[in-house]
């Protein structure tokens, strides 16, 4: 969960209260190779729910986003994740990432 800012609110009584504001995390999701084909799109903007904290959480959440994503993410072990264009492990925290990519193991060269 990302806490974007702390706001000080002055109430009518003059009492100073500290209020924590949690804002939704809007990120760009990108899909490549067969993940892209199964998802039916190359990229989109989404708002992540608060319970999605790690790369593995993301994959499980993607499975719940309709039949196309359920098919694309049916085998979590076959999906690799990059956060802001860096390879990460399943337990890596998403934090303040802005771009998340999903793809199969790479096959260049």
């Amino acid at each position: 969960m990302t806490i974007s800012k702390l706001e000080f609110v002055t109430r009518s009584s003059g009492e100073l209260m500290q209020e924590t504001k949690v804002t939704a995390r809007e990120v760009t999701l990108r899909y490549f190779a067969w993940v892209r084909e199964k998802a039916g799109m190359g990229q989109e903007r989404v708002t992540l729910p608060p319970h999605v904290e790690t790369a593995a959480d993301l994959i499980h959440w993607m499975q719940t986003r309709g039949p196309a994503f359920a098919a694309a993410f049916a085998e979590p072990g076959a999906i690799r994740v990059a956060l802001d264009r860096v390879h990460v492990k399943p337990d890596t925290k998403i934090g303040t990432t802005r771009e998340i990519a999903f793809f199969p193991p790479v096959t260049g060269g």
Partner: protein, 152 residues
């Protein structure tokens, strides 16, 4: 030291000449060229299409080059990887390494390819003569090849 991702073919001798020009310290140049084979799993191959992740690809290739520079005594290196649709016998990838002696040039060239194959975000899709497409699976052998370098 540079990396390039492009649709067009590359000129191997021209790239070697540019990489080594005016450097009398270079005594060894090693090159690797990856090419499209005319068959895949026993079936004739009509074409191969390479997709990549623009931005991340270049960043990964640069990171792999930086790692090679730390491990080996290199005077220069170049990685060119093609994307788009390629035909059998077409070139896919070029790696050139230049060093004072052949040991560093050979080892760095092999290291760059081993790391590229497991880290750089490229994906190959093969099309058979019937036009049906099939995404290439990653090979366990590529992971094993990259892991050899972990203990060195």
């Amino acid at each position: 030291m540079s990396v390039r991702v492009q649709e067009t073919d590359f000129d191997v001798s021209g790239e070697i000449a540019k990489l080594t020009a005016g450097d009398p310290g270079i005594g060894a140049v090693a090159t690797f060229i990856g090419k499209v084979r005319g068959e895949a799993e026993g079936q004739p191959l009509a074409s191969m299409t390479l997709e990549h992740y623009p931005g991340m690809t270049e960043a990964e290739l640069e990171a792999i080059e930086a790692e090679a520079r730390q491990r080996f005594q290199l005077a220069g290196s170049l990685i060119i990887h093609r994307v788009g649709t390629l035909l059998p016998t077409d070139n896919i990838v070029l790696v050139i390494t230049a060093a004072a002696h052949r040991g560093d040039a050979f080892a760095a060239c092999e290291f760059l390819m081993d790391y590229l194959k497991t880290r750089a975000p490229f994906w190959k899709k093969e099309a058979g003569s019937d036009g049906a497409g099939r995404w290439v699976d990653a090979r366990d052998g590529d992971d094993t090849a990259a892991k050899r370098w972990h203990s060195k």
